[in-house]
Every structure is written in C-alpha cells, then in structure tokens.
Amino acid sequence: MSPRKKLLIIDDDPDFVEGIKSILEGADYEVEVAYNPKEGFQALQSKPYDMLLLDIMMGRGAEGVMVARKIRKDPKLREIPVLIITGIREQIAFLFPGGPVHPHFVPVDELVEKPVEPQLLLERVSSLLTLAEARKAGTR
C-alpha cells in the first residue's frame, strides 16, 4: 500500500479549514494547516507535501497570489500540484488574466469555489494527485 498522501492547506479562515480538513481526513489523507501565507510558504520549503490547497483571498487582499508566485518561481516547488480554493471568482480572473477557470500558474493546478461539495473536493484532489504522479513518471 502506498503511504498516506500528505496535504498542506494554506487558508486564514479556521472555520473553513475545519470544514475541508475533516472531509479530507475522512478520505484518509494526512492534512496539515498553515493559517497565513508566510507560515505556509515556510512549511512548503521545510518538508515535502504531495499537494497544496491554497486560499487566494487572505489577509489584506489576495495574499495567496504572492504564495502562488513564489511557488511558480521555485523550480522544485512548482512541481507540486495545487488546488486553488477561492470565494471570489471575478477576482481570480483579474489576478490571473485570461484564465478564469483554470489558472495554470504551475503545471498541475485546478480551481474550486468556496464552499466546495465534498465529492467535488475529493475528486479534484485525487485527480490532481494522479496527474502529478503521471507527470513525475513521465519526466524521469
């Protein structure tokens, strides 16, 4: 059996985090949480995760975008699959011009809106993990 997949959530809303964390843990994922972008990025650098779930609207604005940009610039980190979770669709279109639904700021990413139905969340997480693994196998 493959070991449990380790996911990191970066989101500043503890209530929302509880809501998705319990769904993910119920599906046998190992979940860690960072409640602000800075801690989140540190966590990403300190150890390997199989996937990142990233909130965009954090702090005083779209601080999640800063995390996204840093990940994109880091050749090692940019291989991690990212599920962007956001409450505001219009702003996403603005932040990633031309890509309202599928931002593609790293090779493997996807976007869902808050709140997200459990089934959709689990589908997206598992398909992103599969895609990332296939990509990894392909590049070797």
């Binding site: 209530d15 929302f16 998705i20 319990s22 119920g26 505001i88 808050k114 709140p115 139905e117 459990p118």
Partner: protein
C-alpha cells in the same frame, strides 16, 4: 476668505455694472463684471462664480445662449436674468430654461441685495444636495461591497461545515435530521447566491468587459441561455420557444456576459409566468441592429412601475408561485447591454405579460449564414425551442 461665494454680472450697460458692484461693496463677496456674453463666458473660466447675472438683451451672443452655455459648463451655477419691465415675458422664458430668478430694470439696491441673497442661498442648497447625493452613492456602493464580503466568507464556512457534518454523520442521521440538514444547506446556498448577485451588481468588472469583445454569434448565446434555464421552465411546465429570423448578423461582444443578460431575462420570464405558460425568445435584425426579445404571458408590470424596473433593488410583485428576485437582475442586464453599446427596453401589460428587448449594434459585414442555409431557414417558419 476664499470660500466666500462670488458673483459675476454680465450686462452691456456700464451703469448697471457699476451700481451692482457698488451695492455689493462691503458685502465681502468677490464680484466680477463683463460687458457682453462672450467676455462673460470667458471670465467664467478664470472666475468660478456661484451666481451669474445675465442681461437678456445684449449685443453679440444673446443672453439665452449665455445661459445655455453656462448650464452646459456647470449646471450647478445659479443664474439670474436681468431684464427690462417690457420684457418680463422673456424672463419667464429664461426661467423655464433653468434661470433661477429675474431682476427687472430699473431696480433698487434692496431688490438687488434680496435677489442676490436668495440666489446664493439656492446655490448653497444645490451644492449641498450634490454632496449628499455623492455621499449616498458612495455609502450604497461601499455598504454593498463590505456587507457582501463580510457575509460571504463566514457563510461559505458555515456551508462547508454543513457539508462536512453531513458526510461525517451520514450513518447516524434519521430522515427528519437529514431533511433539516438539507434545508439548511439550501437556505445557505440561496443566501450565497444572493450575495454573489450583489457583488456582481456593484463590481466594476462590467465596465471592463469591452476589452475582451469579439465577433459573437447570438444564436449560440440564445441556445446556451435557453439550455441553462430549461430546468426551471420544466419545473413549472413552461415551454420556451425560440425563433431566429435569418439572416442574423454577428455582434461585437462578450459571449459570457451576453448569455448572463439573456439568462436574466429568461429567468424573470419564467419566474413571473403562470404554470404551463409559454416564453418566446425571438432574434432578428433591424436597421443595423440585432434584437433579442424575451416575451412571457405572465403577470406583467404595472405602467407606473415600468420606470422603476431597471433602476436596481426593485422587486416586482411576487410571481404566481410567490417567487421573488433580488431586484438586481434587470439592473445587471441593463449594465451588460449598455457596455455593449446597446439598449434594453420593456413593454408590458399588467396581467398579460411583458416583453423585454435587447438591442445591440450589428457588426457590419455578411451574416454568418450560407445562402442555401438561409433558404432552408426561410422555409421553416418556426424553429422550435430546445426539448
């Protein structure tokens, strides 16, 4: 000292100018004079007057034209016409066109002072009204934006936890508990959608859509829109019938927001229709414009309510199924249509139904239909709606 209101007097009689200046001396109001209309308007560029006196009978451009040009430049400037007793009629004419008052010649210093005081008071009120209106607009905008964001994210978290709880408790819930949970989820979902509509109505995104305009086929817009409301129509046993009159030209636009506009109209038509009714969608070209009309045979709108309908926050009398809207759908639709250089019009008969028509400028050039196709389409008198 600087915020003392100032007065400009435009009159060709030097004696009038002199006496006005003398009367106002000591009042502290900055006063400027000009001996004809052209000079007066020029003076106004450097001397921002609060009140302007204009002689109606002057050589050069007429007093009326001066009034018009002042009004065009800044409608908040209060104007008073100076006129001889013999020409009170023209003073009335001037007041109909926006002058605040008139000063008959010859006048006493007291008359002049009194009218000046009244005109300045009027100016103060005009400025105050403008400020209040601006504040009200800002308040409305910010209120909506802040409230929406502050409500949206906690509500989203509530919903997320309802989702999670439902999953975790799935084995332990009885039917009644399950149905209560379902109703909670449905209510929160309705609230989230409402907030989304508010945000949409107040966001400035709609002004930016023209950046992404491209030639758009309205057939596609219409078929997508009809498809997206089909569920609601089926629920009320309403038939949505589409007629496309060929040839139908393209428009320069954004497919997504145009669909949103048509969906809003269709949604309203269904919402305010009786069970088993019909909704007719018709697209045709007329005089360089493409028209999309959505007609229902529903409850209709009272004549006196028609002007309110597009204003935003107007919620019509509940539909037959006691359905209500957010009151913003039409306002958003109108903004979308206007961003496309088009217009939205309504015809309605209370009790009989309403027709909303979107009018968009057609793209010059050939319609995207091959001649043989056109013949085929002409042969079909009607094209049925989906399903």
């Amino acid at each position: 000292m600087d915020d003392k209101p100032s007065i400009l007097i435009i009159d060709d009689e030097e004696v009038v100018l002199d006496s006005c200046v003398q009367i106002l001396e000591g009042s502290g109001y900055p006063v400027a004079t000009a001996s004809d209309g052209e000079r007066g308007l020029e003076r106004l560029q450097t001397f921002p007057a609060d009140v302007v006196y204009v002689d109606l009978k002057m050589p050069g451009i007429s007093g009326f034209e001066v009034l018009e040009r002042i009004y065009a430049q800044d409608p908040s400037i209060v104007t008073v016409v100076i006129t001889g007793y013999a020409t009170v009629g023209s003073a009335v004419e001037a007041m109909k066109k926006g002058a605040y008052d008139f000063l008959p010649k010859p006048f006493t210093p007291d008359e002049f002072r009194l009218i000046t005081q009244r005109a300045l008071e009027k100016r103060r009120l005009v400025l105050e009204t403008m400020t209040l209106r601006r504040e009200r607009e800002m308040l409305r905008e910010h209120f909506a934006a802040i409230v929406s964001h502050e409500l949206k994210s906690p509500l989203g978290s509530v919903q997320q936890n309802l989702f999670a709880l439902e999953r975790e408790l799935a084995q332990n819930l009885n039917d009644s508990q399950k149905s209560r949970l379902d109703r909670m989820k449905a209510s929160v979902d309705t609230l989230l959608k409402l907030i989304h509509t508010w945000l949409r109505a107040y966001s400035t995104d709609l002004e930016r859509i023209s950046d992404a305009f491209k030639p758009t086929d309205l057939r596609l817009v219409i078929s997508k829109s009809v498809e997206s409301v089909q569920v609601h129509a089926t629920r009320k046993d309403i038939e949505v019938l589409t007629v496309i009159e060929e040839p139908l030209g393209l428009v320069q636009g954004d497919e997504g927001t145009l669909s949103e506009a048509v969906i809003n109209l269709l949604g309203n038509a269904i919402k305010y229709s009786r069970l088993e009714g019909e909704v007719h969608v018709r697209a045709r070209e007329a005089e360089d414009h493409v028209l999309i009309s959505v007609a229902d045979t529903g409850v209709g709108i009272a004549r006196e309510d028609l002007p309110l309908v597009l204003g935003g926050f107007h919620v019509g009398k509940p539909g037959p199924e006691a359905e209500r809207g957010s009151g913003l759908g039409l306002a958003i639709t109108q903004r979308i249509v206007q961003a496309h250089g088009g217009s939205l019009s309504i015809e309605s008969d209370l009790g009989r139904g309403s027709t909303f028509t979107i009018r968009l400028p057609a793209l010059p050039g050939k319609p995207p239909v091959r001649p043989e196709e056109r013949l085929e389409n002409a042969a079909k008198s009607q094209q049925g709606g989906t399903e």
